[in-house]
């Protein structure tokens, strides 16, 4: 081997070892510097993606849209009825709580955001949203949609205008979960390489004789310090009972392929 090549190889290995031994904090600083440099390009990139999606949505068949509109009108009427009933119940509930000197029901302080980029990396299931620290967003905050839990904030850009959301379908996003109508609690997470059109989540560490059945809903327990309690996660699809513990496959309540607007929970009184 030529001396120059040998020196280059040693320098390369030294550099690789230096990078491999960086702490989480220095990695975050490196990432911040990288994304600050990339911000102008990212902005135009996400604008392009948003425009392309808007164009595709506009060109959807008009009959399909008409049917959707009719269905939405029906749904709206139904929801108005439910809402009026809900208001009455809420008022009654508040009066009863006041009478019993109870604490107020949980209230979420949320920030609405739009999904501007999907799956920017090969293996991790993440999306980027157009809200960051300027609107009070920090890491490890829960992200919701109308249908349930979407994921949690993984990274906030130093520009304060964007954040990255780790989706519930990613293996690394773990949520403490309970099964409705049963004492069962477990840890829910995505599956490795779960890029299918119909991703399933794994609910692990259930008891060996877990009395859970397909169709039961799964909610957050509120334990673990990240996710608030009683957020819908999905419904049980199948149960696999083992000798020591059981595991269930859960169909997520959120359609991750069609995420548009999401809500970041800034704080919640419990």
């Amino acid at each position: 081997m030529k001396p120059l090549n040998l020196i280059a190889l040693l320098l390369f290995l030294g550099g690789a070892v230096w990078a491999l031994t960086r702490s989480d904090r220095s990695v975050r600083e490196i990432q911040n510097a990288y994304y600050t440099a990339m911000t102008p390009f990212l902005k135009s990139g996400s604008k392009l993606e948003t425009q392309a999606r808007a164009f595709l949505q506009e060109t959807r068949h008009s009959k399909e849209l008409e049917a959707e509109l009719e269905a939405t009108r029906g749904q709206l009427g139904r929801l108005r009825l439910i809402e009026s009933r809900f208001r009455a119940l809420e008022q009654e509930n508040a009066q009863l709580r006041h009478a019993l000197n109870f604490k107020e029901a949980t209230r979420f302080d949320v920030v609405a955001a739009r999904v501007i980029r999907r799956n920017p990396t090969t293996w991790w299931q993440t999306v980027e949203i157009d809200a960051g620290s300027k609107r009070g967003i920090g890491t490890q905050l829960a992200v919701l949609s109308n249908d349930g839990l979407v994921g949690k904030i993984d990274r906030v850009d130093s520009t304060g205008e964007r954040s990255s959301v780790l989706l519930l379908t990613d293996e690394k996003c773990q949520v403490s979960a309970r099964v409705e109508g049963s004492p069962e609690v477990g840890i829910l997470s995505g599956q490795r390489g779960g890029f299918d059109a119909d991703p399933m989540l794994r609910l692990r560490f259930l008891s060996a004789n877990a009395a859970v059945r397909p169709g039961q809903r799964v909610f957050t327990t509120g334990r673990g310090g990240i996710f608030q309690a009683n957020i819908l996660l999905g419904t049980i699809h199948s149960v696999d009972k083992g000798a020591l513990d059981s595991e269930a496959l859960v169909r997520p309540s959120v359609n991750f392929a069609d995420l548009g607007a999401v809500f970041v929970v800034l704080s919640a009184d419990s």
């Binding site: 120059l4 090549n5 020196i7 280059a8 190889l9 320098l11 390369f12 550099g15 690789a16 230096w18 990078a19 491999l20 031994t21 960086r22 989480d24 990695v27 975050r28 490196i30 990432q31 510097a33 990288y34 990339m38 390009f41 990212l42 990139g45 392009l48 993606e49 980029r117 999907r118 799956n119 920017p120 990396t121 090969t122 293996w123 991790w124 993440t126 890491t139 490890q140 949690k152 993984d154 990274r155 780790l166 293996e171 690394k172 773990q174 403490s176 840890i187 997470s189 599956q191 490795r192 390489g193 779960g194 890029f195 299918d196 334990r223 673990g224 310090g225 990240i226 392929a257």
Partner: protein
């Protein structure tokens, strides 16, 4: 030679910018065009070992800066079995490995047979993805390989490989504008055929 080496570094940095505009193809198993890896592989076959290693370091370093996930967070009493992160910097070694693979067929490239390099770039991307997925399995345990993941890796390699002639054309153009020949033997053979 130095001007060409600097141009390849700039081209790799430009690939990082263009990569931001290339989303995953959700209809094809979330496969994507890995432009950064492709530009690195094509450059690796046209430069000497020191430049290749410098490109591998820059490529791997910035790729990890782009993709690294944050720490798990949450109460460790509740989340006892936390899912491990890949160490920042692992891509530098993967890029280096791919670069050495590409340099193995540098003699063929210098003879003007760039088609082999184009084909090998697809194979190298497949190996890169397979190695990356194996590392994930090794670090996190519980080896799983679904059919969807295999298709994702295969389609990503094929899609990426299709763009390699374009990158080689760009490299030939850059080399000629820098007054540098990246396949000197082919040039000599062409000249001797004319005389």
């Amino acid at each position: 030679m130095i001007r060409y080496s600097i141009a390849t570094i700039l081209l790799l940095l430009a690939a990082f910018v263009v990569q931001q505009f290339l989303p995953a193809f959700t209809g094809i198993h979330h496969s994507r065009i890995l432009l950064v890896q492709l530009v690195f592989l094509c450059c690796a076959v046209t430069v000497g070992q020191p430049t290749m290693l410098l490109l591998a370091f820059i490529g791997g370093f910035f790729w990890d800066a782009q993709c690294a996930l944050g720490p798990h967070g949450g109460d460790s009493e509740v989340y006892r079995q936390q899912v491990e992160n890949l160490r920042f910097g692992y891509s530098i070694l993967l890029f280096g490995g791919m670069g050495f693979l590409m340099q193995g067929i540098q003699p063929l490239f210098k003879q003007g047979k760039w088609h082999f390099s184009a084909l090998l770039s697809g194979i190298a991307v497949l190996l890169y993805l397979a190695a990356e997925y194996t590392i994930i399995n090794f670090v996190r345990g519980d080896f799983t390989l679904s059919r969807a993941t295999m298709w994702q890796m295969a389609y990503t390699s094929i899609l990426t490989m299709f763009f390699s002639p374009l990158i080689f054309w760009m490299l030939f153009t850059i080399a000629s504008s820098c007054g540098h020949s990246i396949n000197p033997e082919a040039g000599r053979r062409r000249r001797s055929r004319w005389t």
